[in-house]
Symmetry: D2
Subunit: 345 residues, 4 copies
């Protein structure tokens, strides 16, 4: 049995506790929160689970081999690094850390010690996103674009911009779905609350191939939208997370190019670009709770010394983009090369 401790029992911690309690091979050993009063319901519901406000107790407990960190982002690095140095496997909420440098150091430390480092990119464990990946791998053809909109009213954050709060979802999904990795980013945005971070932002991601990605995030929209378009040379996908079912629709649509016929003048060009319009198809999706799937995978990676889908490197790739986007945002969209932010992964 893998002894697991959950660190932080605020908004997300209870979900981790509830799910870890059901993972085969895992023993939920302890829950830790600085505010010990929050932990009373844990004791009531899980009498055998230890509760504490002292993180050191967790780190020094040899029966605990893994920690799951669900605290504010600013503390991720410190808590995760301490756990790794204590020889614990680590599962961290997204984003994995506050900067690419911090993320890199976690990745290096985990690698050096042969420990599992996972980041909670929950969406990559949903049926919808897994199906998207499957479609991208098989049948979408050459990747043309990835366009995502994630807007709603609230909840304004004080310490981070809308990019760190909302775009992190899109970036983690895209990191999983598309094999290609971006090389540069341009971001624009605005803050409507004096002295506070941006509440609207637009990111363009550039790739080495003929692919473009764009993410629109907004805390101040009158309607809620969660929609991603993925264009390939053979098929195109619409992923609408607000659809109760049919979240993924695959369109057998696109253009056909007849490269060899190219010549001068419009007529020939119009012959060059043709349009295909075929069936639409909404595959049935697995509806298992993503978090449950994810925690089982984490346990399995510990048992088998394997690498989780969303490992520390995935967490780092996402944070690197967030950091670059933040720099670009401050300069009205100046392109930031990700390489300048990269060190390790």
């Amino acid at each position: 049995m893998i002894g697991v401790a959950v660190i932080g029992y605020g908004y997300w911690g209870p979900n981790l506790v509830r799910n870890f309690a059901e993972v085969p091979g895992v023993r939920l050993a302890a829950v830790c929160d600085l505010n010990k009063e929050r932990l009373a319901p844990v004791k009531a519901r899980y009498p055998s689970v230890a509760i504490t406000d002292n993180y050191d107790e967790i780190l020094s407990d040899p029966s605990i081999s893994a920690v799951a960190i669900a605290t504010p982002v600013s503390s991720h690095f410190k808590l995760a690094m301490a756990a790794l140095m204590a020889g614990k496997h680590v599962f961290v909420e997204k984003p994995i850390a506050s900067s690419a440098e911090e993320a890199e150091r976690l990745v290096e430390e985990a690698a050096r010690r042969g420990l599992v480092l996972a980041v909670d990119h929950t969406f990559v464990h949903t049926g919808a996103v897994r199906k998207m990946r499957e479609l991208v791998d098989n049948g979408l053809g050459e990747m043309y674009y990835y366009d995502s909109v994630r807007v709603n009213l609230g909840l304004f954050q004080h310490d981070v911009s809308v990019i760190w709060d909302l775009a992190v979802h899109d970036l983690s999904i895209m990191d999983y779905v598309i094999q290609h990795k971006p090389v540069a980013v341009s971001a624009t945005g605005i803050s409507h609350v004096p002295g506070e971070p941006e509440n609207i932002a637009y990111l363009t991601l550039f790739f080495e191939t003929n692919l473009i990605a764009h993410i629109h995030v907004n805390w101040l929209a009158p309607v809620k939208v969660r929609r991603t378009l993925v264009g390939g040379s053979n098929k195109m996908i619409v992923y609408d997370d607000l659809e109760p079912s049919e979240k993924i629709k695959v369109y057998d649509k696109g253009i056909t190019l007849n490269g060899d016929q190219k010549a001068n003048g419009e007529k020939v060009y119009q012959a060059l670009v043709g349009y295909r319009s075929g069936d639409m198809w909404a595959p049935h999706l697995d509806v298992k709770e993503a978090l449950s799937t994810e925690l089982r995978e984490f346990a399995q990676c510990i048992e088998q010394s394997s690498t989780p889908i969303a490992d520390g490197r995935a967490g780092l790739r996402v944070v690197r983009i967030l950091e670059a986007a933040t720099q670009s945002l401050a300069q009205r969209g100046r392109v930031i090369e990700l390489e300048k932010i990269r060190r390790v992964a």
Copy 2:
């Protein structure tokens, strides 16, 4: 009676002919097209209308006091300038010209001669867009953002990018709806057909006030979207042009700021930003054909020496943004100040 000639009888010309034939105070005098065969149906339906493939005949006809130009963009400047120099009032398809310089010269010439110069920004004459303007003027509060998406599959143009083809609609609508004028633009995009202009583009427009605008245009999308979000400090609008009715929805939603309470720490901040969520309202819209309204306005401006809603200056402002966006696009989103492109208006 104002004698009017329609120049160009391709895709849009027939709509101009059909509508001018019904405008009170206008006499549809002639239709001109280089391909005279196209004009046969005009003769059949409107026996009293002259048809010709010789533009000079139009220019030298003293009974014709206005021309409406519906030819390819590349010819707008030459045809419109010739008409102005011949003392004719001019109505031109959008975009008004191929460059800001051309547009400026048309604006100057029309001003010098006291002639009406109108550009066919058709949407600004729809009930939906007029209602948006009315709402922005009364009740929306301080303008926060303008976000528009105009995507579908096809029709790829050969000579111009998707910006000149699709974003021109959004820019002309925004120019009318919002009093503030942008000062700079950043545009990113991509072409998926080798050697051809961009078929996907994203524009961010910067303003001197705390306002941002963004336009997403795409010829290669699996679904058709025509949706604009307009955020104000008091209310927000969703304009969905594909809705059969209820194209405009007004949301009594937003944030409230209590600036004086600001202090350190998250708790105070969350008190600072509050969320309002009230009724939604879809005003009944005028459903008259926009083109008819527009041509009546053109006739009236000629009669009363007044300025059309979409005058040459509006056409110029839009072309200036298109030109700046095209420059930015070539430099992966580098900000282009519109002032550097401005000369006259």
Copy 3:
């Protein structure tokens, strides 16, 4: 060449004229309307077509071998019967006649003379309805139900109830899509305009098999709905005619029955009924104009002495249901056996 005359140039007649003018093998010979002034545009556009307000001229013209009747329903029988007796093939607007008896006499007369009698059930020539039929024939399994809603605001008719105006569409579509024919009908409804026919009605159709059909029609609805659900033992269809594309969606959903396991008690029952939920699929549809397809078929049937998809018998079956529903409506839903209304077909 088949000489065709169009009778009635009101709302629908111009569509028949425009389409017949393009049908290969057809010569549009004449257009007849009691109000001769209406016919001026015909002469202008089709100089070779004769215009007349005298139906007898049409009937006595040996160069005319078919007539298409687009007059008010009350005149269908008289005009169609006269044409058949004059040896003309006949195409009639729906409903084919004002009563089952009239419809039967037309069917008999056409059969006796070996003439083509077609009814303008336009929808059965759309890509969507043809695809539904194809799906029902292949893959839907045993037919379970057919449920249709056709509601909107207006246009109230004075002489007939909403059943004759709107349900006639659903009945003609259902007659084509489903092989089974109903045996009885129960209809309820109401009129909200004193002294006028029902503006809301609900029809239930009973069959000999384990199938039920229901149609809801309403002239006084705040929203427009055109939606049909078709349930089969293997698959189910949603046909939404207001969808711009994807009008037909096929759901691989349903129940599974394990008949042999049946026993007492709820537990066994719940094991008995299982639920399947698979992919959804929206087949690409043919978008050719239905009326054009239909008129070509009419011409072909004349040439080849074959039977149109929507022949007089189809028209009769629909009118018989309309008549029975009208009787039922007057008796608050009393079941009317169609056999009591049936004589011929």
Copy 4:
């Protein structure tokens, strides 16, 4: 403090327990279930609450003054009657009983003893339904129709038809929203599982005024629909319970009648019926949990000897319609007068 016992801890009981525990003035005293094992989590979470499998203990406990019954319908009457006879106030799941006769006897017993008898018509405590009632009372004008569709795939019941399972919701909502009460019902339907009750049904309800109601319920639909249209002479409502917000839309649409101008012929008729089309409006709705509101109202009625919105008489009216509809269903829609089923209320 009102001592309350919850009877039945299956699907719905836990919701009652969770909510009663929060109602001011209520002491959750006991939970009773025949299967005592189910009650373990109650003890864990609410240590002070008694648990028992012996209903008599509840009835004989003088500290318990009210019971909430969440058991299968077939047991409602027996349990509720025993509670009333023991002098307890009663809250029963819907439908209140298995027959109108049972419901009447409960109503009579509660009246005789001056006890509160409430039925759990949960929907009438939602913000959406309360708003509908408010609109019907103020501004909708004369009631024209009430049309409701409640369809989805599953969950087939073994002991009752789809009417008792799904239409009970619509009937309880309609009973609350519309002041008028139906006088007769016609129902049609079908079963697709041999030997089992109907899984599709259509109910028409007749009133003494010029109003009609219709309910479509279906366990075998490929899509989930929860949509009600309410037509009045001044305004019309669309209530879509699946909309995340904007569940209620009010349309300023309808017809206008000019009764005095009536004359012969169609032209005059068309002048008679005019169409109005104004704004649409989606009022902001209260989002408090309905069950919480409902249980607070129940407690208040006990304290103040007042009558709940959904009292025993409301429960009876609904059951009477269910019973009549069941009779009609067996006779292919024969009209059943509700008076023949009525005795008390």
